[in-house]
Amino acid sequence: MSKSIRLKKGFNINLAGKAEKKIVSDLKPDTYVLKPTDFPGMIRPKVTVKEGDNVKAGTPILFDKKAESIMFSSPVSGEIVEIHRGDKRALLGVKILADKEIEYEQYNKYSISEIESLSQNDAKDLMLKSGVWPNIVQRPFATIANPEDTPKSIFISAFDSHPLAPDYAFIFKDQDKFFQAGITILKKFTKGAIHVNLDGNAEVASIFSQAKDIQLNKFYGKHPAGNVGVQIHHIDPISVGEVVWTLNPFGVIQIGKLFMEGVYDASKIIAIAGSEVKKPQYYKTYSGASVKKFLENNLTNDHVRVISGNILTGEKIDKDGSLGFYDHLVTIIPEGDQQRFVVTDGWFSITKNRLSFHRALGLFSFLNGSNKEYVLDTNTNGQERAFVMTGAFEKVVPMDILPTHLLKAIMAEDFDEMEALGIYEVAEEDLALCEYIDVSKHDVQSIVRKGINLMLEG
């Protein structure tokens, strides 16, 4: 039973600098980094290699002492050149200097019929040791799935509604057979449905529409319609004690490839986009790639912020930083660290060029059509204050959840309230728009993560 769901709430941030549909595949970054910090909930990462060791693509190099069966593999073959540690020797990243030609760790290969008849345990073993398991993120809490759990259903969002998000139909082109194999494998883990959720307003890619053993649903609406948390809420909501697994189509394809070809293939197509990029377009590279070469001679100026991911949920990285594990996008926008005169450009100004969800006096961006593209910088446009405005968060969260009350319950560390108000149904990304529109400039996403961590500990 496929479903069509129309969401009224939400907000689109239409940024300038969308990636042109061209793929550059001859730019090869030298180094790749696997960062334990990309995995929320990973508390005690341990490296299994030393500086100077040689690894292949797919060689396990890292695991979490709290979940020892799940291995994290090197995205490329080469030499471990740096094990980066921070305060109290916290592991921040493992850097690999890549070989010219990538060599792959060989795992078992299966034919299509073998994949179908494979037992759940055999499939799980291979997924755990090869490094594809971290693609499976569980809800509640948006942490890497526990291999011991049986999810009641599996959710795959087939579109990304974030600003400047890459076009999935484009970056997953011609991966149909791997996607199907991945679905066949995942089907072994749940008695429920595998939901693939499409953007109702976009053309449907064959990779999703032709896939078997899935339930196709359509979502119509503004961001965060593409967020898997929102989709779960409307199709198969999570209650206490239940677990749902979620994957990006990339993860499904990677799993399929592992079984069909016996390799851990971390190659991915990413978008380099944003108003400060000379030529926003797509690049073929590997997970964890250093972004340095993509940005060289490609930035309009030097005073920019480079973000791995999108502007709502991404993370600031250096110009020679590396791509996050789950990211398919690098956004570059102007840094906003200058004072502005209030009458011409501050809280007293009248403008249509500075995007606002609100309509306070002087902010006329709502008069622009939805096609208007904005150049936005990183200025906070104000300082943190106590909660004053009410009723706004509710307009950008298309779920039957009271965001303000949930956030206050988290701040008060009230476990019963958090549970009753729906902490199991949200992750940071689902309330990211609240953080964007907040008049009082709170760090909403870090409050949500704090709540999730409290629930995990409690």
């Binding site: 993370e315 502005r340 902010l363 961006s365 906070t380 104000g382 106590a386």
Partner: protein, 394 residues
């Protein structure tokens, strides 16, 4: 604007850590951000871009929404004076006379309140919150023109400290600060805020038969006959028609007399999304419903007052638009806002008709519902939790 920026940069080190006036950094900062937005950028994790709005712009929008009330109020203070004294003044005379009375009240209100805000910000080492920019304008608008300035200062200080700062400052308060200031005066100095205080006479002799009573006072004291007749036979027969009360050419607190000016403000608040249309609408509906109910009972002339008269008499419109919509002290849930507004409207008329000592009800109605707002929200939130729980058992 370069010279202001240069000047600010020159003196800034004195206020920063280790500087001579380190303690007063937040006062310096409040002034700096009055001219230049802070250079703060988003953190490395979380949203990288923030909405263009901030609390300063939000508060400024509310102040602009109050401007029609303030300007009309200034004119009306003069207008009432010349009506009562029969001197006959031109438009400009009225404005000048009104300004002479109103502006000092505004200055005292802001002066007192901001001094307290700065003091608390310095002691508590936090940024100066913009909340008082609105409160400081609300307080003068609900004062009678004859109010002694020291009382304005005292009431402002009382309200800011006891209704706001003891709870932790803007955003944490339970009671509407401006209404608390008004309530303080009403209970502490009743003689200065009731009776013949609504028209600034300035010591000039009045015309024959003059009475300074407001429409509500006339309605409350009507013993026999109808309230509309009593209003029509007051000292000035054109004074209390429905139209004149709607436009606001009647005696009353400085900014509350004109329903029209309040509705202009309401339109701006609703269009900008800052005032809850739900609350404004339901306060009017609640007052009308209660008026109708009293019409049915009809035990005394005040009860028989046509229900729509309640919309234009007294401060109902001002309270509905600027007091009930206070996002901090009102209900926070959308459903709660319907109930909250409706009850404020009903209570206002109830208090008007039954309170013998004080004919205006909106002040007490808003304060009372401020106290009950968390309770209303509590039940709305419980309902949300129940929906989640019931799903679990299916």
């Amino acid at each position: 604007m370069k010279f202001i920026q240069d000047f600010l940069h020159k003196v800034r080190p004195n206020f920063e850590k280790g500087g001579k006036y380190e303690k007063f950094f937040y006062i310096y900062e409040a002034h700096e951000t009055l001219f230049f937005t802070p250079a703060d950028t988003t953190k490395s994790k979380g949203v990288q871009v923030r909405d263009a709005i901030d609390l300063k712009r939000m508060m400024m929008t509310v102040i602009v929404a109050m401007a029609p009330c303030l300007l009309f109020g200034i004119w009306n203070v003069g207008h009432q004076h010349f009506l009562a004294t029969g001197e006959g003044g031109e438009f400009l005379d009225k404005i000048l006379f009104g300004a002479w009375y109103v502006l000092p009240v505004v200055v005292v209100s802001y002066g007192t309140g901001l001094s307290i805000e700065f003091t608390f910000a310095t002691i508590r080492r936090h940024e100066v919150n913009e909340g008082f920019l609105v409160t400081g304008m609300l307080i003068p608008l609900i004062m009678p023109p004859n109010i002694p300035l020291w009382q304005v200062a005292l009431a402002t200080a009382f309200a800011v400290i006891l209704a706001k700062e003891v709870f932790g400052g803007t955003g944490m308060n339970i009671l509407n600060v401006a209404m608390t200031a008004r309530a303080f005066l009403y209970f502490a100095y009743p003689s200065d805020i009731s009776g013949e205080v609504w028209t600034a006479l300035d010591g000039v002799a009045t015309v024959e038969g003059y009475s300074g009573a407001t429409a509500l006072a006339i309605a409350a004291s009507t013993q026999a006959g109808s309230v509309t007749d009593a209003l029509a036979t007051s000292w000035n027969p054109e004074m209390f028609t429905f139209t004149s009360m709607f436009i606001g050419t009647v005696p009353g607190s400085i900014g509350e007399t004109s329903t029209l000016a309040c509705l202009i403000g309401a339109a701006l608040l609703v269009l900008t999304g800052l005032g809850s249309a739900r609350i404004i609408f339901t306060v009017f509906i609640g007052a009308y419903l209660m008026g109708l109910i009293f019409n049915l009972v009809g035990a005394n002339p005040f009860m028989e007052t046509p229900a729509h008269y309640h919309w234009v008499m007294g401060g109902l419109a001002f309270g509905a638009v600027f007091m009930a919509t206070d996002p901090v002290t009102g209900t926070h849930t959308d459903t709660g806002k319907w109930i909250y507004g409706l009850l404020i409207g009903m209570l206002t008329v109830l208090i008007r008709v039954f309170n013998p000592a004080y004919p205006e009800g909106i002040m007490l109605a808003v304060l009372l519902m401020n106290v009950f707002a968390p309770l209303i929200d509590f039940y709305i939130v419980e309902a949300n939790k129940k929906r989640r729980l019931s799903r679990a058992t299916v």
